[in-house]
Symmetry: C2
Subunit: 251 residues, 2 copies
């Protein structure tokens, strides 16, 4: 029997090819097999021409991770393609969760190659909204009960964190963003600055600076990141800045 | 008088040159002048040979930002070098804060090039600790009163966020990490999994997986990121994984 191989979970960045690191590129080129969501495999198409390639539909994260571990267990070097950074609600967690169930002789090595996250990509287009303490919350209640999400929104808003909302909306999840906005408005002013970024560094990129009070007027979908400033965040000329310092303890 | 130029705030990633994006590299190469902390300018030395280069000491963030804006106001194309991602407690915020005070004829364009953040870099070496909602908190009370930091630690711990601590300790700030640990322990078990990463993707990199109860035994300094898991985070074989889902609402 062959030695187990390697699974490299590769963060390819937000989309633009010049925001993919050379290390990510090298990992894709060096691997025997690629596994990924079809949309992301397409983003790296030119790099992986001629390689064995398993492009699976969205939603089949566990299937993708299992396939990668199976192939690596047989000695292959497998790249799992993750957009943005693979560690932030990405494939790294799914692969490592399943790795725990793989028994010794077939257990491959797993390496995570970090990438420019969708969050940092969105933030950079807005200016510097993440200049101070921030909380990142996924509004997807597919795998997490809503009451836990609500409790986190409440805690983050109450302690004046900048709040980044990932997976804010999809065709199946239409009400969560409005509910989140209501929860945050309990401890935040409607004038709080909010940035909404769609498809950062991809075709059809969109950047909107608005307020918490008017957030419901902006188009939001599953390719959108919403960043809500803290009480010191300011908007000017289409940019958002959260100062690194807080002068007064009482606000 | 010449037209105002551009300030490009460039995230060069955690340190290893193959974790710097091609876009960051191109920005450095295209600029006339470089401004940065001396230690980071050294990291990109080969790229910027022959260029006008202003390497300033640590702590002089405002001076660096002002110099960059002044030079750009005179028509130069200036790169400001930021390690990791420039938006996370980085130079992007400082530059944009000062930009608000620059009056129209000399106001340069400011562009932020995102990078692989120190946070994602540290997380990738630990496995996938940021697989679910997380809060990022700087323990530096140089610009923020400690009571605000304490309140955020309490809120994040109480709502079961994964908590990433940046700037956990320095020669001048010795007690903050212990105090943070005490605050988090009020709502978290001492067995909570904790990852400590020093100098991610740099020489002298160090990765330790421990528990909240034993965190005080680990060496921590200003080049360290501390990531404290949520109640579902598990450690195995030197890796940390936070599952993407939470099965039960009551834990």
């Amino acid at each position: 029997m062959s030695q187990p191989g390697t699974v490299v979970v590769v963060g390819i960045g937000p989309g633009a090819s010049d925001l993919m690191t050379p290390r990510a590129r090298a990992a894709l080129v060096a691997s025997d097999v690629l596994v990924g969501y079809a949309g992301y495999v397409a983003l790296v198409g030119d790099l992986v021409a001629g390689k064995e390639c398993h492009a699976l539909p969205l939603g089949q994260e566990i299937e993708r991770a299992r396939l990668a571990l199976d192939l690596a267990g047989k000695g292959r070097c497998v790249s799992v393609i993750s957009s943005g950074d693979p560690g932030v609600y990405g494939m790294a967690g799914v692969v490592l969760e399943l790795l725990r169930d793989v028994t010794e002789p077939e257990r491959p090595e797993v390496i995570v190659v970090p990438g420019v996250s969708a969050l940092m990509a969105a933030a950079s287009l807005l200016g510097a909204p993440l200049g101070h303490d921030f909380a990142v919350i996924s509004l997807s209640d597919l795998h997490t009960p809503w009451d836990i999400i609500a409790r986190r929104l409440e805690a983050a808003a109450g302690a004046d964190f900048v709040i980044a909302l990932l997976n804010p909306k999809s065709r199946q999840r239409a009400w969560q963003l409005d509910r989140a906005r209501e929860i945050i408005l309990r401890s935040r002013n409607g004038e709080s600055v909010v940035g909404v970024v769609r498809n950062a560094y991809r075709p059809e990129q969109g950047v909107v600076v608005t307020t918490l009070g008017r957030l419901h007027e902006v188009r939001v979908d599953m390719f959108t990141t919403v960043i809500i400033g803290n009480s010191c965040t300011v908007g000017f000329q289409g940019k958002i800045v959260t100062p690194r310092g807080i002068v007064s303890a009482e606000r």
